[in-house]
Amino acid sequence: MDILQFSQVQKSFGSRQVLKDITFSVPEHSIFGFIGPNGAGKTTSMKILLGLLKPDAGKITVCGKTVTFGQNETNQYIGYLPDVPEFYDFMTPREYLMFCGEITGMPVKEAKERAEELLIMVGLDQEKRRIKGFSRGMKQRLGIAQALFNRPRLLICDEPTSALDPIGRKEILDILVQAKKETTVIFSTHILSDVERICDKIAFLHQGEIVLQGDLAEILSAKTSGNVEIEFQKKEETKRFTEAFPGWKENTAFKVYYERKSEEERVAMLEFMAKEKIYPVRFEQLEPDLEDVFMEVAGK
């Protein structure tokens, strides 16, 4: 079942059209990567989804219910982690989570248990300080805890890793993978390696439009790049080879790199080396990564 559906959502700020036509859906229990460069409209889409902005046209449903602007009923299914989460920093993390419990109407005893469980999950259970003194990573982790508090069916994270160092990023990604057990995760980002690490489904947002969407593994396998890198033993071999096969992209003393070579061309390369008795150190077909795919769909 699709837990979230965007259909033909449009939004302009003044004369600038930020979202042209956003249509995509997210199946339950997946980690959905919502990818796009800065300014593509990711945050705007999420704010509309949360009922914090009013779309000019189109419809969004969460768990089958339509999202409305203002007092938004579907928010009860959603946990939201803003890009730079800010909290009432005069509280301790435990107090903050208990406050969340009161707002969501959870019984006190259950709220206490839930708060403890989440604090342990995000590694803040020993923290007695007020939020005021927290680092960005700690705030981000607390952000996930508060977003997961009332066991939402949909967890929305707006660029959760963008501002963090590698360790902080890994921590967040690990927590998100854990969260997948109990919820569906949508996370927007422009960091492609994070997407490759944890997402199952993706949608590419580019200049206000969804230019590509689907299963991450399928998308990657459909786009066999045909990129080849060959490493030679001798300089002279490199020279002979590049003379026979010009059109290289990068060429150093021992290494040549070709982009988008057809199967016939790659076979021809191997035959040439066999005939010329060149034994390469390495002949590698490079797997396409998201960056290649992204560059391709973004038309760059």
């Binding site: 914090l52 203002g70 928010n75 959603i78 009432y88 406050f99 969340c100």
Partner: protein
């Protein structure tokens, strides 16, 4: 109901931990003590001044000080205390917009009107307590040093200023839900009061303006009568309700949080 009490609790905790409550307590207590103290010190200061003036040939007569002197100070100081109070609460909404702290709560299903109600209630209560403190201290000292009975309608005129304060608070809340920055809250609140004050100088309209209540300090001195404040009191009561409802309605549709 639980959401509302939780949010009220959060507001109180915030004001307490930020030290705002203590600062205001000191301000109100100081203003409360200052009124009788100034009255008490006046003769002594006059004496000091007259001694130095005598040498230059001027003579001052001994001044008569009573409860009225102290009450005059009180009515002069209330607007001062009110300004400090308003400045300290100008950011209660805008700071949340700036930091985005409300979004977490609203996306958890907190009803928007409860935010407006909780913040208004807490601000009004702190005003009420602070004002009562200031009034009580002045009243107590005045009764101890002099005699409050020579001042007429003290309670009524104090109520007028209290109601004026409540009206300004509801105005501040209404402006807070409409603008984005703390400085615009201060600017518009002060601006609106300023414009009304300007209009009040044009003859007869004054009785129908909230700022009329600021003159209620004249009552204990024996000038004017209760009827002069009737219209303004009713108007202010109506405006408080209207402004609150408008704030709730506007906040419900606010996009930029």
């Amino acid at each position: 109901m639980r959401q509302l009490t939780a949010f009220i609790k959060k507001e109180c905790r915030e004001h307490y931990r930020s030290g705002k409550i203590w600062i205001l307590a000191i301000v109100f207590v100081l203003f409360g003590i200052m009124n009788p103290a100034m009255a008490k010190l006046t003769p002594w200061m006059m004496e000091m001044a007259s001694e130095s003036l005598e040498s230059s040939g001027l003579s001052l007569q001994a001044t008569q000080v009573d409860a009225l002197t102290s009450w005059t100070q009180f009515y002069k100081n209330v607007p001062m205390a009110m300004i400090i109070f308003l400045l300290m609460f100008a950011g209660i909404f805008t700071r949340e917009y700036e930091k985005g702290t409300l979004i977490n709560m609203l996306t958890k299903g907190l009803a928007r009107w409860k935010v407006v109600l909780a913040k208004s209630l807490v601000e009004a209560s702190i005003w009420g307590i602070g004002y009562l403190l200031m009034f009580g201290i002045t009243y107590g000292y005045n009764a101890y040093f002099w005699d409050n009975s020579i001042a007429e309608h003290i309670e009524f005129s104090a109520l007028c200023l209290f109601m004026f304060g409540l009206w300004v608070i509801s105005l501040e809340v209404l402006i807070s839900v409409m603008v984005t920055t703390t400085s615009s809250v201060t600017l518009f609140t002060v601006g609106i009061i300023g414009v009304l004050y300007f209009f009040s100088m044009i003859g007869k309209v004054k009785k129908f303006l909230p700022v009329q209540l600021l003159s209620a300090g004249e009552l204990p001195m024996g000038s004017g009568n209760l009827g002069d404040y009737q219209m303004a009191l009713i108007l202010v009561a109506v405006l408080i309700v209207v402004q609150f409802v408008a704030a709730v309605l506007y906040f419900d549709r606010r996009g930029n949080l």
